[in-house]
């Protein structure tokens, strides 16, 4: 085991290197940190865009925005930034840092391509935001339906939409290269003794996610390219006025964007599946069932895309409704895996566990309201209302974002050699949990009573005033919860409690080396005879016999 120096400073090989090192590094640990920091920056920017939306909607009437098109830019960019520049790269960042360590490898399979994948992201983000400075950012929704997204009167005139297209093509390429890296690393670089069914669950979820990225993202690229040709070369793909087919865009777009939601949640589920066993002092209940359920979600995820299009009249409704209900089954299996991991465990309510419990409860709500929408007649009424906004935020914020924060508190000590403060962590959790529910729970009622999405203003006698105001207050509460988090990071980096190799009594290989690890990751590896090699080493057992 690499020994930690008795001094309180992080190892010299840790993160406190010069700017040149950070700009040119190919070390998966530094690249992982770059991804995480970059993603947080876009999380804050995307959050500001959301505050813009909520500020305008707090009361009926257009109070703050000069025109409604600016409102359209705000929600378009909010969705785009949160999906493509925050959550997906954030999970890639954690995967980058943790997966090579968890499989006992010295780095990813293609370290230089890894660096390329990262550096494409700040460039892509810049291009996307440049729209604001060049006559208006993209304003056709993150879903960019035609003919609204076309370059014609009443459509999306100007470079903003084209910058959006190019920015997203860059993000997509970055993702695809990353997925290749993960797959080769996982299949070819595992330490001796680590069979596939001894891999940590996080590695499994990254594996399935990478397959989804590899197969689905290029389809989005093709859609974006076709839209670009429509807008700039007189193409006739999607514009009905030009002989094109608007529903074709929806089909190609959602063929990617549905698997995308699993891309956005599976790694977070993997992180939760690492954290719950550690803080329950029990192995994950039903390891193999969990693996098969994850693979099942990945496969089924390609068969449901048209449930976003039920109301177009161009969809074979029974099939897509059935497949959508079906995908709830493996998801439910995983819920039981997690619950039975906790059951009769010896629980330690540290911040990572709090966020993990937040994930479980909030993702459950998001899954239930999604199941309602799987029923076609229900969707006919609720499509494009705030019900959907509630659903997507319960699974993506209540699910993925809480999972991300669980991961942050869990792996920060490994990355920096310092513990994050528990007090501030709990303050953040409580504020964020309350703020999140205050923002999004009322949206169920708003949707049921008919409030449409993507409107800058609403009638004062629709009965929506109080709930919108409540949601706005909640939004600012979420923003406020970020402050103790940032303070926590700042203070802990300077003077947080030294972490040591294994502050949580973890199960997996990253806890078998120093915090932070040396550049080559491991001096030597413990014997690997189960999915919990460090647990086995600590307790002198041969493992649970997988």
């Amino acid at each position: 085991m690499a020994t930690t120096a008795p001094a309180l400073t992080p190892a010299a090989s840790g993160y406190r290197s010069g700017l040149y090192e950070w700009l040119t590094t190919t070390d998966h640990k530094k690249i992982g940190i770059l991804y995480v920091v970059n993603s947080f920056i876009f999380f804050f920017l995307g959050g500001l865009l959301a505050l813009g939306v909520r500020t305008e909607l707090a009361q009926p009437g257009l109070q703050f925005l000069a025109d409604e098109n600016l409102y359209n830019e705000l929600f378009t960019m909010h969705g785009t930034v949160m999906i493509f520049l925050f959550i997906i790269p954030m999970l890639v960042g954690f995967g980058n840092y943790v997966v090579p360590l968890q499989v006992g490898a010295p780095d990813m399979a293609f370290p230089r391509i890894n660096a390329l994948s990262f550096w494409m992201l700040p460039l892509a983000g810049t291009l996307l935001f440049l729209g604001f400075a060049t006559g208006g950012a993209a304003a056709a929704g993150w879903t960019s339906y035609s003919p609204l997204a076309q370059d014609r009167p009443l459509g999306s005139v100007g470079p903003g939409q084209d910058l959006w297209i190019v920015g997203l093509i860059l993000v997509g390429t970055s993702s695809i290269l990353g997925s290749i890296n993960f797959l080769v690393t996982i299949f070819k670089m595992r330490a001796p003794g680590m069979t596939l069914f001894r891999m940590p669950i996080l590695v499994w979820t990254v594996l399935v996610t990478s397959v989804l990225v590899l197969m689905a993202t290029p389809v989005l690229t093709s859609a974006l390219v076709m839209l670009f040709i429509d807008r700039n070369y007189g193409g006739s793909f999607f514009d009905p006025a030009n002989g094109g087919n608007a529903v074709l865009w929806q089909n190609v777009f959602w063929f990617y964007s549905h698997p995308a939601v699993y891309i956005m949640v599976l790694p977070a589920m993997g992180m939760i599946s690492e954290i719950l066993p550690v803080f329950s002092r029990k192995p994950l209940f039903g390891y193999k069932a969990f693996v098969f359920a994850t693979a099942g979600i990945g496969a089924l995820g390609f068969s449901v895309w048209a449930h976003h299009m039920f109301t177009t009249g161009s969809v074979y409704l029974p099939f897509f409704s059935l497949m959508t209900f079906l995908i709830a089954v493996p998801t439910g299996v995983k819920m039981f895996n997690w619950i039975f991991t906790l059951f009769r465990g010896k629980l330690t309510f540290s911040t990572p566990l709090l966020f993990a419990l937040g994930f479980l409860s909030m993702f459950l709500i998001g899954g239930i309201n999604g199941a309602f929408s799987a029923a076609v007649p229900v969707d006919f009424a609720l499509h494009d209302t705030y019900w959907v906004v509630a659903h997507l935020h319960y699974v993506l914020f209540g699910g993925s974002v809480f999972g991300v924060f669980a991961g942050v508190y869990f792996w920060f000590p490994k990355m920096t050699g310092r513990m994050l403060g528990e007090g501030l962590g709990k303050v953040q959790f409580v504020l964020m949990f309350i703020g999140f529910n205050l923002t999004f729970f009322p949206m169920h009622a708003l949707g049921l009573s008919g409030m449409p999405r993507r409107i800058a203003d609403y009638a004062s006698d629709a009965g929506w005033n109080e709930l919108n105001l409540a949601a706005t207050v909640g939004g600012f509460l979420i923003a406020a919860s970020i402050l103790p988090f940032l303070w926590n990071v700042f203070v802990s980096l300077r003077s947080g409690k030294p972490a040591g190799d294994d502050p949580w009594e973890g199960n997996t290989l990253e806890w078998a080396t120093s915090s932070p690890p040396p550049p080559y990751n491991f001096d030597h590896l413990p014997e690997i005879r189960s999915e919990r090699p460090v647990f086995d080493l600590r307790h002198g057992r041969a493992g649970s016999g997988h």
């Binding site: 080769v184 330490a191 590899l214 429509d230 070369y233 007189g234 193409g235 006739s236 089909n251």
Partner: protein
């Protein structure tokens, strides 16, 4: 790493080096990477083909009357197709040559492959010029848009393949490949075969199925 030392002393036998002859067997990292990359490219073309078939199903007649005879299966694309298929054969000849350490044969074969690839591109560009003068442009309705998008992106992939072949040829002439170390050649040839197969699919769909 654990266990004994003998098998693990050289980089060729390191389980994490991932070279062509991996200690744990199986294909090397770069070749697995190329196969996965090609999978993603197949999905990219799948999206374009989906758009083609959807457009074709929604528009009657297809081809539109003014373009009924514009795309000729035995026009310039016919020799181009023959050349591309032959180039796949010569590419494989090159790979087999370097697997036997026949460097001269490898360089000859890759050189011919490269020339054939460039000829394909030149014929394609020439053909585009002819089609444009007959009124088939990108903006000529769904028929034109889908034709140029599909063949254009295929041509871009051929161009990428030509660059790769050029690099491999250069490195080969510089003596960087042997029978034990020629991952780049294998990966390039796999990519080139993929480009050829896509063209067979395109040629059949656009010029025969119509």
């Amino acid at each position: 790493m654990t266990s004994d030392s003998q098998a693990l002393t050289t980089t060729e036998h390191s389980p994490v080096a991932g070279f062509a002859h991996d200690a744990s067997g199986g294909i090397s990292n770069p070749i697995l990477g190329m196969l996965l990359f090609i999978t993603s490219e197949v999905m990219f073309f799948a999206g374009l083909f989906a758009a083609y078939f959807a457009s074709r199903a929604a528009v009657a007649p297809w081809p539109p009357t003014e373009f009924e005879h514009t795309l000729e299966a035995f026009g310039p694309v016919f020799p181009a197709t023959i050349m591309l298929v032959i180039s796949s054969v010569t590419c494989q000849i090159g790979v087999n040559a370097i697997r036997r350490d026949d460097r001269a044969g490898f360089i000859r074969a890759i050189g011919i492959t490269l020339v054939l690839g460039i000829m394909f591109l030149l014929i394609q560009v020439f053909d585009y010029g002819l089609l444009y003068s007959e009124g088939l442009t990108v903006a000529a309705g769904p028929y034109g848009t889908t034709y140029y998008t599909l063949t254009g992106f295929h041509g871009a992939h051929v161009f990428g393949g030509v660059i790769m072949l050029g690099v491999v040829l250069y490195r080969g002439m510089a003596g960087q490949f042997s029978s034990r170390h020629h991952d780049a050649v294998e990966a390039t040839s796999i990519y080139w075969h993929f480009v050829d197969v896509v063209w067979i699919g395109l040629y059949t769909t656009l010029y025969w199925l119509r």
